[in-house]
């Protein structure tokens, strides 16, 4: 496949690896933000091939993982109603709530369906006027334009039976939260390439300068990751702290202006709770008041939910780079993809899932 295969090329990988080994003279800790990048790293075995001086820690860039437990419980409560068709991306179905997950709701007879695009949910709403369709709108800035457009579309069509349960989160506030923590050991970042495709990378420049960290906007294929690591390490070795764009074939400095405009029309910034981390101010999106008719949290009065996290789960520490998945006492024992204690073990972008599926032999 064009623009995919070239970035999986073994010879190119070897060249980049060689150059990285040549450049590294100190120990450095680098964090890749996005769960998709974590998966590429573990799945292609990059972490195993890098010089031991380089430590890769994994970031909170997994929207499924950071969706607050309370919202999962709300989703479960809504999906259990008989007049609802609850739609979601596949991953959310296995994320553990306080009592159960969406898959259990489905098994018990709830109408829970996987969709690949929010527009599919809008179509379902058109096709099933007697039901209420709820879409679990989870994602970073990458997915926000699609969700915004779907809500916009629903409004244009005059739909009265479509709403979203919104769990949108933003990357820069999360990075700032990590950087400002006194326990932070991250020295350089591979920023999330697809988030920056939408948002551009201007908002990272003040972060790089304030905290003196190199930030390299990086793609998702093995070659992208390796090149991103090389660029970060070069900056660290040279004492620079700039924003650079490895993923230049897709990311522009200003991002996608049409998408940003659409998002601003539909969403506004709000404080958000990140599962395992806590409330990060101004770190998420909520629907604007004029779209309240499409906001599932306004429409469905779900009784006060008592949330209960597993006491063993250290997801928050893993997602902020303080611990690795295999540092967790429950990893692979009480916590596996079949019976997860936390979200990173079931999400396709979760660090724990990546280590469990691709890497457990090494730990």
């Amino acid at each position: 496949m064009k623009y995919v295969d070239e970035y999986r090329n073994a010879a190119s990988a070897e060249k980049l690896m060689k150059e990285i080994r040549h450049v590294v003279t100190h120990a450095w800790t680098i964090m890749e933000i996005c769960g998709g990048q974590t998966h590429t790293i573990v799945k292609s075995g990059i972490d195993d091939l890098l010089p031991s001086d380089l430590t890769l820690v994994h970031g909170p860039g997994c929207p499924v993982c950071v969706t607050p437990l309370e919202l999962i419980d709300k989703a479960v409560a809504i999906a259990s109603r008989s007049d609802i068709i609850f739609t979601s991306f596949g991953d959310m179905l296995r994320v553990p709530g306080s009592e159960k997950d969406l898959l259990a709701v489905k098994a018990a007879g709830g109408d829970v369906r996987i969709v690949y695009s929010p527009l599919d949910a809008v179509k379902l709403a058109q096709q099933n006027p007697e039901k209420k369709i709820v879409f679990f709108a989870v994602g970073f800035e990458t997915t926000a334009p699609a969700n915004a457009l779907s809500v916009w579309q629903a409004k244009q069509l005059g739909l009265k039976n479509f709403s979203i349960l919104c769990s949108h989160v933003l990357v820069p506030p999360a990075m700032e939260a990590i950087l400002s923590s006194h326990a932070n050991r991250v020295q350089g970042f591979l920023a999330a390439g697809h988030v920056c495709t939408v948002m551009g990378y201007e908002e990272y420049i003040p972060l790089a300068s304030k905290y003196r960290v190199p930030i390299v906007i990086t793609g998702f294929e093995p070659i992208d990751i390796l090149q991103g690591i090389l660029m970060t390490v070069r900056q660290l070795e040279e004492g620079r702290a700039e924003v650079e764009n490895q993923y230049a074939r897709v990311v522009r400095r200003e991002g996608n202006r049409s998408a940003q405009e659409l998002m601003q029309n539909v969403f506004e910034i709000t404080d958000r709770s990140w599962r395992g981390i806590g409330i990060i101010p101004k770190s998420g999106y909520r629907l604007r008041d004029e779209f309240a008719a499409f906001d599932a949290e306004c429409i469905f009065d779900v009784a006060a939910i008592h949330t209960q996290e597993s006491p063993l789960c250290i997801a928050g520490q893993v997602m902020q780079g303080f611990k690795k998945p295999h540092d967790c006492s429950a990893f692979g024992i009480q916590c596996t993809p079949e019976h997860p204690l936390g979200a990173p073990m079931v999400s396709s972008e979760g660090a724990c899932a990546a280590y469990f599926h691709y890497g457990k032999i090494r730990f």
Partner: protein, 354 residues
């Protein structure tokens, strides 16, 4: 949080402490970890006997000195008609193949239909004609059957169960437990064709060249292989759960390690593209006309040559070997030279595809 511990002191307690699900999930039929657990902990533990224990594709029985293979399989696929076949061809070939994977020559099949009220007669006729053609192509006879009809809404158009028996020739000893250190692992052709063909109908994917299911009877191919060299230790067809699941099952069964090389695994361009879009790993996608063979190193070249001389094995290739490291685990050397574990399938990648 999920379910808590179950009191094992009560002998009526469900023996599945690990899964902790109160109800059956789709994943319990998916061919991956949950299926495996259900079969081992609930079924195999109750119907305990040494013939069932190997949990191979079929049971090997000795009746009056003749070794027979006996197998059963049910077909619940949706859609019932798909590019390259239908539920009927699957039902015949699937069972023929399970017998072949025991090293047996398939002879006789039974067939039970569970039909949903309202199924168009024409559709049923199409399925029956397909089955007839498939039995002829495989050289087997359908000798007994049963038909039930259930209320509309209580069955997904049609479910088919086929059982089969075949004779295992002398000197043929094929079982997952016979995998040996040093064995070469041969894959008969491109993977993930069937699963993707099904998904293409379900997801409305449009292909420039339509991907077809690889559904085919493998008995002739297997006979060619055995004729070339009897030192074949394991045969398995990677259906639900794909190549990854089968390799894991064999690694666990024989307590051996498996290493494979990503670059050597044949995947067609269109299937690769479809897997990218749908976010699937081809190693976990179902096949209905492919097999994996664990063959002694001395026999490998002969067997490979024999396979390549047969239309169903023309793309056969050695993809890896059995090692004494990491018993029970499958490791793959990645395209860029790293390594990763190829784990057992968790949960459900594709619902009801065979």
């Amino acid at each position: 949080m999920n379910e808590k511990t179950i009191d094992l002191s009560n002998s009526f307690a469900c023996p599945l402490p690990i899964t902790e699900y109160k109800n059956i999930l789709l994943a319990h039929g998916g061919g991956g970890k949950l299926s495996h657990q259900l079969i081992k902990k609930m079924f195999a533990s109750q119907f305990k006997n040494e013939l069932l224990e190997p949990l191979h594709d079929g049971a090997t029985l000795t009746v009056s000195g003749t070794r027979l293979a006996f197998t059963t399989d049910s077909y619940v696929i949706n859609p019932i008609f798909f590019p390259g076949g239908d539920i009927g061809t699957l039902a015949v070939n699937g069972t023929v193949n399970d017998l072949s994977m025991c090293g047996a020559r398939p002879l006789y099949l039974s067939c039970a239909f569970i039909i949903e009220e309202g199924l168009p007669m024409d559709d049923l006729w199409r399925v029956v004609l397909s089955m007839e053609a498939a039995t002829k192509a495989a050289g087997v006879q359908l000798v007994t059957g049963d038909t039930k009809v259930v209320d509309r809404g209580k069955g997904d158009k049609i479910f088919i169960n086929t059982s089969g028996i075949g004779i295992i020739p002398d000197g043929v000893e094929i079982s997952p437990r016979h995998a040996k250190i040093g064995d070469r692992i041969i894959l008969s052709g491109t993977i993930a064709d069937h699963g993707i063909a099904i998904m293409s109908v379900r997801e409305g994917l449009e292909f420039e060249t339509q991907i077809e299911s690889d559904c085919a009877p493998l008995n002739e191919l297997v006979e060619t292989m055995i004729a070339a060299n009897r030192d074949i230790h394991v045969l398995r067809d990677p259906t639900r759960g794909g190549v990854a699941s089968v390799l894991n099952e064999i690694a666990e069964s024989a307590a051996i390690g498996v290493t494979i090389v990503e670059d050597l695994i044949p995947v067609s361009e269109e299937v690769r593209g479809a897997c990218e879009i749908l976010g699937f790993d081809p190693l976990y996608v179902a096949n209905e006309g492919k097999l994996l063979a664990f063959v002694s190193p001395a026999a490998a070249e002969n067997v490979l040559a024999a396979m390549r001389s047969h239309p169903l094995g023309k793309n056969a290739v050695i993809i890896g070997e059995v090692v004494d490291d990491h018993p029970g685990t499958v490791i793959m050397k990645t395209r860029i030279g790293g390594s990763r574990v190829v784990d057992m399938l968790s949960g459900e990648q594709l619902p009801r595809i065979c």
